[in-house]
Amino acid sequence: MTKETARTLRDFSIELAIYALLVVAYFFLVLHLLGDWLYQLESQHRYVYAGVAILLIIGQAVLLESLTTFLIRMIRGRSE
């Protein structure tokens, strides 16, 4: 294994570990709190639920993309 490959793998492992911690916190905090509200919305206001669902998934995508990009920059920047 070359030095470059080893460094990339190490960076990636650190990134995955930090990401996993954040995701676990996210499950317990956000999804736990949103669960009941979304359930009520889905059963009573289907059209509002459809809009909220799309906004949530796109919002999470933008947030996670920014988070992973930030983590990559931070870890790579520190190891250089």
Binding site: F27, L31, A50, A53, A61
Partner: protein, 309 residues
């Protein structure tokens, strides 16, 4: 973890791993990955209608991440993606109508299964033949003049290139230019037709039909593979959002499951998208070959055993 909207108890780790695998495939090949996500969700007890709708919602999130990454790498043709989205949505509606017609005739399962097996096998066989032929001719050329670097990888050669060039020469008004994809002029109707056919299969067979759209963009429209992958992902954001809204209104989307799956898909999609930079177009196309075969194997299994995965 209990998901109150659809009712089942599913391990979030399982969902994250499934999302991660589909994310890598989506980022690398520009496909939605519903041929894996659907059966994977069914396996843990989700009803078929929820599996389809929830998968679509998860595809939206994954495609946003992968398309953003591909855009940063210069692999997204926005103009082409927007035009294709129109054709795809129209095609998806057409496909859904076709399904309703077959339902009324009473033989929907058999017809859809046979059509999908034929389509999947044809795509795999054709892409295997084309990418191997292209790679062979590239090896012959590279022994004469060795080309190095990332830009050489994006200069996409195809053994089927003469067909896409002939299609680009068809002068059917209105013609549009796609400078990002390196296409000087192509009929708008050809793009809409390709997108419509992709959408038709999406509505007819389920999922995003990236296994049809990505190869058609390369072989019919003459779009370089890297751009076809990135643009397909951008287009999937629009068409899958439409599908998600439609399914959510009908009560087929458990957004909590989609959000959990997406935490894995977000990182997988980034890995997949970045990986495309290390492979030339024909190699990506060759690696694509097993995907429709997996789809065909699943359909054959359901047809023979009677179990719907």
């Amino acid at each position: 973890m209990f998901f109150p909207i659809s009712g089942p108890h599913i391990s979030p780790i399982y969902l994250v791993i499934v999302g991660f695998v589909i994310g890598i495939l989506g980022g690398f090949f520009g496909v939605g990955g519903s041929f894996i996500a659907g059966p994977a969700l069914r396996l843990v007890g989700l009803d078929w209608n929820f599996a389809v709708g929830t998968d679509l919602a998860h595809i939206v999130g994954k495609s946003v991440v992968a398309a953003k990454r591909h855009r940063a790498l210069g692999n997204v043709d926005l103009r082409l993606g927007l035009v294709m989205a129109v054709g795809t949505i129209a095609g998806a509606e057409g496909g859904a109508q076709l399904i309703q017609m077959l339902k009324r005739a009473g033989n929907v399962n058999f017809v859809v299964s046979i059509v999908s097996i034929v389509v999947y096998l044809s795509i795999s066989a054709f892409m295997l033949w084309e990418s191997r032929k292209t790679l062979k001719s590239q090896r012959r050329r590279s022994s004469k003049a060795k080309v190095k670097g990332l830009t050489a990888k994006k200069k996409d050669k195809s053994a089927f290139g003469h067909v896409s060039r002939a299609i680009q020469r068809l002068k059917i008004w209105p013609m549009i230019a796609l400078p990002t994809s390196g296409v000087k002029g192509i009929s708008l109707w050809v793009i809409l037709l390709v997108a419509f056919v992709g959408g038709l299969f999406s509505g007819f067979l389920g999922g995003g039909a990236g296994y049809i759209r990505m190869p058609s963009m390369v072989y019919v429209l003459g779009i370089p593979t890297h751009l076809a992958v990135g643009t397909d992902l951008f287009e999937i954001i629009i068409s899958a959002s439409y599908g998600t809204l439609s399914h959510a209104v009908k009560g087929n989307v458990d957004i909590l499951i989609a959000l959990v799956m997406h935490t894995g898909a977000a990182i997988g999609a980034q890995i997949g998208a970045i990986s495309t930079q290390y492979f030339a177009g024909p190699k990506i196309r060759l690696a694509f070959v097993p995907l429709p075969l997996i789809g065909a194997a699943i359909v054959i299994y359901t047809l023979v055993s009677g179990h719907k995965l």
